[in-house]
Symmetry: C2
Subunit: 403 residues, 2 copies
């Protein structure tokens, strides 16, 4: 049974295009239950705001403005990358007692689920009654248990549209194009590039995900083979690719408080791959110069306004609403997950899974969704999985009279 | 007076999101005049296709498919970067005589206008009657004479949306973010980032265009000042920035047949600026670590399906139609240009300007559209110029209770 009291909601980790849908889902569901939640507070910058006593009172926000915020990308309450230390936990508990907090909702990925889990265990150990929920959010789609994660569909839509455009660009001028896609531990987002294949010779012609070990020599041979066949090659590369045993392809050296190495915010991996390819082709195909280019999609892919999957936006809202509903129904803690329902039409339902089941560890793509050679995806399971999450893509045509 | 004969249309240079609108504008206008143009051919890869005898017969394309192609980004006939040499001209003239060509339409930027001009002068010198038109296309918006260029509005829309999202992303997590935007000679596209400023503290906080000399030390001082004030800084940098006298900031060494240095397809400039900033801040603000990231928008910004300005698409179509109309009206040669009509509502009309007036040289932004210090744009003239070209942007909200 949930005690009446203050509700606190926060956002953590990297933002997404629909993370505020989840925030407004929590807030609106809570504001409808004034007897249970006399105060609904937003923690500014997640647990940092709880520690610093920096809150926003959602009772003072207008419904119209909340709808506008819901449609706006990136964490409206701002974000933080901070794992709750033992000392943080003491301060968080003291603040909860001070504010009479009965429920805490934390929106984020696996690191956020871990922090939610730590906070919950701290409350249990202290005998403090606290409903504690993690609302999923990650463009990486790498949370365990759930069918997919809010934020992924919109980022996957960006990646698909980007590859549709870039394949057409590459087709017009030829040469080799490498595109580096986000995804530290899993290739879900990189795999969405496969949605750009409309005509048989469309790219990406090669797709490299972290689920398969990467070799620079194998990469050069793969690209050369496509390039000799088509006169061009578009390549999707996850920023998380690595050699056997996780050895990095290149190393930028920066590490955050969760132990994550910095991968995004630099063109270094794409440029290193392009340099390697240029050197390879200068020897393998010395008869002419080769046009090799690399783009790193970087932060654009996670917060792009106007490139949002309708299903993703609706489900992100639902994730927030479902967490509050579970708390109201008496569930003490958990993480919201999605289950795909059987049937020809795409439908999902939500359920609550234990915090420990999504915290910390991530979920890779099934290895059999990648080709045995590790340089492509297998569309059979992947494409029906992806299409409803991403939504209908812009129609594409080509002249019938061109081969 | 235009002689009846074969019409040839081609596309050249970098593609845009709406370049096929112009192609279909030419083709449909020509197909309506069968007595004047018994054959309407597309040259595959521009003058390369004329030289290689590689053509597509538009009489065999369905109207429905042409409409789909019109909405598809990137040159449907494929493209080429080739300046017509004296030898090329001889071969082009021979092909025109062989095919009974009476009119040539070439879609592209200033280099394409130059090639069109060379081909036209060659025809005049040979006494060969040929209508010769350049249809403008460039995301750089740097053609002379015209108010603006087809392709620019959609690319500017991409840049504006990208900065809206990236400013929100940066606001959620703080730190410094550099975004490198295309634009070899002119800052038009980089300046469109200013459309992302909705609230007073929104980025981009600094905008660097090639029209003002760039200094690394001045850049570091500018960024530090914003960062000390706001705790964050979003920066728009044109790929074409340079020091006094055009000295490059970094040099990748590759040059095309028009003498253009490779700028895009690498994260090198952004990464070099980020490294410089990190070193500067380690000395200027040694009390803590600083998050500095760089993204290079690269090829995404010129062919992104689904991020298209409605005005740009309509005007790109009009540019093709207007070229054919001018040829039918007896004009011998020229380039299509736009003129903005007076009045509160945005309206344009087309006119024909001599090929020599747009060939070769490019048009920078007016220097007084940049701030005297060269680290920002001045919105007074720029924003009313930009808004109708880009169209309405996605609505953005923020929580009222956050400072």
């Amino acid at each position: 049974m949930l005690n009446p009291g203050t509700l606190i909601v926060g956002q953590s980790g990297g933002p997404t295009a629909v993370i505020n849908q989840t925030l407004v889902g929590v807030v609106n569901a809570a504001l409808r239950e004034r007897r249970t939640f006399p105060r609904v507070l937003g923690a500014v910058r997640g647990i940092q705001g709880i520690i610093d006593n920096d809150f926003l009172d959602f009772g003072k926000e207008s419904a119209e403005n909340l709808e506008l915020v819901a449609q706006t990308p990136s964490s409206a309450l701002r974000s933080v990358r901070r794992k709750a230390s033992a000392d943080d936990c003491k301060r968080i508990l003291a603040r909860f007692q001070e504010l009479g907090v009965s429920a805490f909702f934390y929106i984020g990925g696996n690191d956020t689920a871990e922090t939610t889990h730590i906070v919950h265990e701290m409350a249990v150990a202290a005998g403090y009654p606290l409903a504690c929920f993690h609302c999923p959010k990650t463009i990486d789609n790498d949370l365990r248990v759930t069918d997919h994660c809010p934020g992924y569909g919109s980022a996957a839509r960006f990646v698909a549209q980007a590859f549709i455009g870039d394949n057409l660009d590459n087709r017009s001028l030829g040469g080799i194009k490498i595109n580096v896609v986000m995804g530290r531990n899993a290739g879900w987002l990189t795999a969405a590039s496969a949605l750009a294949r409309i005509f048989p010779d469309d790219g990406p012609h090669l797709i490299y995900c972290p689920e398969a070990d990467f070799s620079l020599d194998g990469f050069c041979r793969d690209v050369e083979a496509v390039y000799r066949r088509l006169g061009r090659c578009v390549i999707a590369v996850s920023e998380g690719i690595h050699g056997p045993g996780g050895t990095p392809i290149i190393d930028l050296g920066e590490v955050d408080s969760h132990g994550n190495v910095q991968l995004s915010g630099s063109g270094a991996l794409g440029d290193a791959l392009a340099e390697k390819l240029k050197k390879h082709l200068a020897v393998a195909m010395p008869e002419r110069k080769h046009r090799v280019r690399a783009d790193t999609f970087g932060y654009l892919q996670r917060c792009f306004p106007g490139v949002v999957s309708p299903a993703d936006a609706a489900e992100a809202r639902l994730a927030g609403e479902a967490a509050v509903a579970a708390a109201l129904a008496g569930t003490v803690s958990g993480s919201v997950a999605f289950r795909r329902l059987p049937g020809a039409d795409y439908r999902i339902e939500t359920f609550i899974t234990p915090l420990a089941s999504v915290a910390k560890d991530t979920r890779p793509m099934p290895r059999d969704w990648l080709s045995p050679s590790g340089n492509d995806v297998v569309g059979g399971s992947l494409l029906p999985y992806l299409r409803p999450l991403v939504g209908a893509l812009p129609p594409i045509g080509r002249l019938a009279g061109l081969p």
